[in-house]
Amino acid sequence: MVVDDEVDLEPLIRQKFRKQIRTGEYDFVFAHNGLEALASLIEFPDIGIILSDINMPEMDGLTLLTKLKELKNPSLKTVIVSAYGDMENIRVAMNRGAFDFLTKPINFDDLEITINKTLEETLIQRKALHEHDQLISIRHDLNVAREIQQGILPKTFPPFPNRTDFEIFANMVAAKEVGGDFYDFFMIDNDRLGFVIGDVSGKGIPAAIFMAVSRTLIRATGLKGMPAGECMHYANNLLCNESVSCMFVTVFYGIMNMKTGEMEYANAGHNPPYILKKDGTIEMVPTTGDIILGCFEDQPFKSEKVILSPGDGVLLFTDGVTEAFNKADEVYGDPRLESLLQTMKDFSAEKIVMTIADDVNTYAMGVAQSDDITLLSLKYNG
């Protein structure tokens, strides 16, 4: 847009740039003072460069610059045209945010170079603005994913206040970029508690949805009272239909019989939990070698069993715990977790979870958390 009160400038510019106008490279809009210029901006929001005189009636070029600044549009650039030697006004214009200046009488070759240079800058700005908008929309998506993830986890503790035969506590600290950890637990009947921990590969909305589907499938099959391995088999086949580009979930599913102390479990590619014995020693729940869910149909899943004695507990966790990095780029690791667990004799389920979460947090101090950190602790009181 050219803003100048000299009316004969319009035919001159149209003539000088007729080639560019014909090819569609440039398109000109003319205004005769600052007010008209502002009105034209509303009418033609695509304007990228304003070429403005300083002295004009109604609203001069310097006031126009102030108004333009208020629009906060970084992809709109103003080039001021002023009398040769009018350094004072030019300085004011630059300080008010002018992108460049030209002197009168206008040298049209110089004008063309200036226009091209400014247009280039405008295009870069527009691209950046576009990307910025995209980023905002991605951030919005991530918030949706976070809500899906958080909304699905049981968060009231103690969840079964009338039960004295066991206690359960779980916590997830989500990474900045939403992953797909989850935990869940439910009473299958009066004696049996189903409890689950899972970790979906990948991040963002797809992972959050996949996690929600996994959790729902396992809960639905679990509540039917099916053996742990059969639940995994069933959930796996259904998840295989949902999985795009090999998204998968690792799951440990346990069924604790409070009457007998028997813990039945299936493990679909999840890192093995620990059993915390009453005497303070720890044992790893033997792995089953069964595969992750969501990728290969009709895989077998074993149901294994261990017996817990009153006072024993079991700790489920995701690899966000053992693969937390510290400043020296070293992982937290299993040995550190194991030695910490050995100090937890007589800890409550909640204290076990919070102590580990604190220790991981201290270890990784100053390093951005790259994965969700999820812990579930079950204590069998008998």
Partner: protein
């Protein structure tokens, strides 16, 4: 993470070293898809220099395995470091992937 590739006999040998995690799995995914789509049906991945793999990295390997198997090709892995092998065992991948101890066996 560094990824290099070299043709050895019938196999395209891909060497992955360093850490394969959420920050760089996309890079490997693109490369693998590129190779598979340009017709490489026998790929061996040399993991001798790979010292960390996250679940996103495992997903990329799974994806490659599925794509190549569907195209009637072979996707072999070799020279897993102990910690990587352990992750593979926990995830149940040792029954799905063909894992070899040496590169020579993987491309035989």
């Amino acid at each position: 993470m560094e990824v290099t590739d070299v043709k050895k006999g019938e196999f395209l040998v891909i060497n992955i070293s360093g850490r394969l995690d959420t920050s760089n799995y996309g890079e490997l995914e693109k490369k693998l898809i590129g190779f598979i789509e340009s017709g490489d049906k026998k790929i061996a991945v040399d993991c001798s220099g790979l010292n960390y793999i996250s679940s996103s990295g495992l997903r990329v390997l799974l994806m490659a395995l599925k794509k190549i198997t569907a195209a009637g090709g072979k996707f072999h892995l070799c020279c897993l470091q102990d910690n990587i092998r352990e992750i593979f065992e926990i995830a149940g991948f040792t029954s799905i992937f063909r894992v070899f101890n040496t590169l020579d066996e993987a491309i035989a």
